[in-house]
C-alpha cells in the first residue's frame, strides 16, 4: 500500500470515470453508426472515402479531421461519407453536401473565394516584387562596372 501511495491520484484519475452513474455513461452505450469503424467492401471506394475524411473537419474537436477523431460525432460523419461514396457520389459531391450545411468551415481543402483570394495573391505579388528589386540591383551593379 505504501508503494501505491504516490500513484494514488493517478489511480483516482483512471478509475473515477468508471464510478459515475449510469446516466452519464449512456453516451457510449449507443453503438456508433454502422460505417463509423467499418470499411467499405470495395477497396477503391474505401480509399476515396478515406482521402476525403482526412480533409473534413470534426464538428466537436475542431482541430482534427474526422479521420483522426474518436468523438462519436466524427464516427457518424465517417458513416455519412462512406455511405454516400458507396451510393455512387463523388468525393466532391459529398464535400459540397457538407459545405452546403456548415459552410467552408467543415472543409480543410483550401478554396479560392471572395474572402481567401489575398492569401493566394499576396505571395505571388511578393515574389514579383522581390524579383523586380533584385533585377534592378543586379542591373545597377552591371552599370557601375
Amino acid at each position: 500500500m505504501k508503494l501505491l501511495r504516490p500513484y494514488f491520484f493517478l489511480l483516482v484519475l483512471v478509475f473515477a470515470p468508471l464510478a459515475t452513474p449510469a446516466m452519464l455513461s449512456a453516451q457510449t452505450a449507443v453503438p456508433p453508426a454502422p460505417y463509423a469503424y467499418t470499411q467499405l467492401d470495395d477497396p477503391r471506394q474505401e480509399a476515396a472515402a478515406r482521402e476525403l475524411m482526412a480533409t473534413l473537419r470534426c464538428l466537436q474537436c475542431q482541430s482534427q479531421s474526422i479521420a483522426d477523431s474518436d468523438a462519436p460525432v466524427a464516427g457518424d460523419m465517417r458513416h455519412q461519407v462512406r455511405v454516400r461514396i458507396a451510393a455512387g457520389e463523388s468525393p466532391d459531391e459529398v464535400r459540397d453536401y457538407l459545405v452546403s450545411r456548415y459552410g467552408d468551415y467543415i472543409s480543410y481543402e483550401p478554396q479560392v473565394s471572395a474572402t481567401t483570394w489575398p492569401l493566394f495573391a499576396v505571395p505571388v505579388l511578393l515574389i514579383l516584387l522581390a524579383g523586380l528589386v533584385m533585377w534592378r540591383r543586379i542591373g545597377r551593379r552591371g552599370e557601375a562596372e
Binding site: 453508426a33 457518424d76 456548415y102 468551415y105
Partner: protein, 180 residues
C-alpha cells in the same frame, strides 16, 4: 542616401502595422460556433421514429401546418441540456410549440431524462446516427431552431437557452409567424 532612409522607414512602418494587426486580432474573443448554412432554407427531409413511447415521432411534414414552431436538439447524455430544460418549459408555457430530436439516445434514457428535467415537447424524433443533425447543419447539442409555418428555418440558437434567450426566441417565433 536619403531615399534609402525613407524606404527603410516605410518597411518599419509596414512591419509595425502588421504587428498591430496581429495584436488586434489576437485580442478579439474567439468564436467557436459553427453556424448552420441552412438558416433561410427549407427544412431537410426527415421522418424520425419516436424517441420514447410518450410522444409521437417527428417528420418534416409536421412543420408545414402554418404555425411557427421550435425544434430543439438534445440528448439525455448532454449535461448543458439539463440546464436549459426549465427555459424550454417556460417557452412552452408562453405558448410556443416545442419539438425535439434526441441524438444518439436510448428510449429508457430519454424517458428518465424527461421525467427528471421535465417534458415540454410536443413531438420527439430519434436520430441514432446524427443524420438529421448533419442535414440541419447543427454542430451539436443543445441547439434550437425556429421554423416558420411553411417549414423554413428562420433562426438558429447554438448552445444553452438561458433565461435571457427566452424572450429572444419568442420574438423570433413572432417574426417567423408574421412572415418577415
Amino acid at each position: 542616401m536619403r531615399r534609402l532612409r525613407i524606404s527603410l522607414w516605410i518597411i518599419v512602418a509596414l512591419a509595425a502595422s502588421l504587428f498591430a494587426l496581429f495584436a488586434y486580432q489576437l485580442s478579439q474573443p474567439k468564436d467557436d460556433f459553427v453556424r448552420s448554412a441552412m438558416v433561410g432554407q427549407p427544412l431537410p427531409q426527415f421522418d424520425l421514429e419516436p424517441a420514447f413511447e410518450g410522444r409521437p415521432g417527428l417528420a418534416t411534414s409536421d412543420f408545414t401546418n402554418g404555425e411557427p414552431q421550435l425544434l430543439n436538439l438534445f440528448g439525455s447524455w448532454c449535461i448543458p441540456c439539463r440546464i436549459e430544460a426549465p427555459q424550454l418549459e417556460a417557452l412552452e408555457r408562453a405558448g410556443a410549440t416545442v419539438n425535439a430530436i434526441a441524438l444518439r439516445d436510448h428510449s429508457e434514457d430519454v424517458a428518465r431524462f424527461l421525467e427528471v428535467y421535465g417534458n415540454p415537447f410536443a413531438r420527439i424524433g430519434s436520430d441514432d446516427i446524427s443524420e438529421t443533425q448533419f442535414a440541419l447543419g447543427a454542430s451539436g447539442v443543445p441547439e434550437t431552431f425556429v421554423i416558420d409555418g411553411s417549414g423554413r428555418i428562420t433562426y438558429q440558437h447554438i448552445g444553452i437557452v438561458t433565461e435571457q434567450d427566452v424572450p429572444l426566441l419568442l420574438d423570433e417565433l413572432r417574426r417567423a409567424g408574421s412572415g418577415s
